[in-house]
Assembly symmetry: C2
Homo-oligomer: 255 residues x 2
Amino acid sequence: MHILVTNDDGVQAPGLLALAQAMRPLGKVTVFAPDKNWSASGHVKTLDRPLRVRETTLADGSPAFTSDGAPSDCVALPLLGFVEKVDMVVSGVNPYSNIGHDVTYSGTVTAAMEAVITGVPGIAFSLASQDNHSPNTPTDYSCAAHVARVVTEKAIHNRLTEGVVLNVNIPYVSIEELKGYMITRQGLRVYRDALDKRIDPRGKPYYWIGGEAPTGISEEGTDVGALMAGYVSITPLQLDLTNYKAMDVLKNWEF
Amino acid sequence: MHILVTNDDGVQAPGLLALAQAMRPLGKVTVFAPDKNWSASGHVKTLDRPLRVRETTLADGSPAFTSDGAPSDCVALPLLGFVEKVDMVVSGVNPYSNIGHDVTYSGTVTAAMEAVITGVPGIAFSLASQDNHSPNTPTDYSCAAHVARVVTEKAIHNRLTEGVVLNVNIPYVSIEELKGYMITRQGLRVYRDALDKRIDPRGKPYYWIGGEAPTGISEEGTDVGALMAGYVSITPLQLDLTNYKAMDVLKNWEF
């Protein structure tokens, strides 16, 4: 079992190290991650410029590859043959949850999508540390690493269905406090973005996408609801975005 | 009816001008597009830097806004209040088709997704000019513009269902040659990417994501199939990516 570990926060992010270490008992691990932070970067395939690859080491001294490509490029290059055949791609651990509509923006999730498009199972791991964590203390990835190992082991053992991306979100609690695991559907995010217009020192306007952090509608059975109840949320995602119900409606539009 | 027109190829792209002109008979048109080409850039929300907005003019002399943000930012800023209330967002016309798995990579499609997430109907228009068009002649957008007006008019008249993104792909033919309109599901893209390793003048390796252009599996009822048969393909997309069938499988994994 050859497992590729990547993320969207960059090769030196502590969540990547935690994930790489969690995967080692499960097989051979290759780390290949971006050389910078690509959060909220979406699904990118870099076709207009060549990519560089550099060897580096993680904080525990283990080897890793890093590239100036986007997270999806860091999946595409290894899967196109930069390294030997990959059997599973895991992405993360993202320090913040990726739930609801976050999935199409998220570099963590789209890296796992890239794997599945290429025919390799992909799992994205995100930790809801924004919920109860002071930014002044380092994020504790021990529960997330435990969950990542458990879920990946199950995915290997049960042969994760082809074409399915697993989007795993972990509450920010200790292993002992974890309530369990829930299979969920994608919930609803509530974005509270606001336009924040400011004037620069030269008197010209510039704009931040500001506002408050997104919340979610805590419905039972959703990723949002599972996290809020203290459970790991496992949402199987598909790459077919067709709205089949809407097809019937559109057929009455009479073109 | 206030229609926002955007794209992922940049404010000076001829496909944007064609789309803006096609929308004018349907209502008030505001053009707000990126100041550079963002093809294959995915769904980006720019939160780590402020955005600039500049007034410019299209090739026909009509006014437009342009920003250094991504295509989704060019939807977010107007919808967050940079301009008056928007009723419909149209994106394109992209010079190449966006079918199958292209939809999560495509800036054209994710701009329309951004609108729908914010609660405004969104339609993406792409022209399959790669199929039978010499790169030495300018792309003819007349059929695409005609189709964009017909589809947008139907969407306004029939009140496009909330939460649905329309992904419209137009064959590269004349209006007379057009076979008609098909409501389709997302088909299968076949990517033929290959790793292309080269050595720079300093003796160091660099990598292109190379290979041949993607093809598609031409199944009846899909976007791929409709285009190949000479029809406009209209695929309703949803933002819920949950694979409901896989949920039942995962529930047997016994966590």
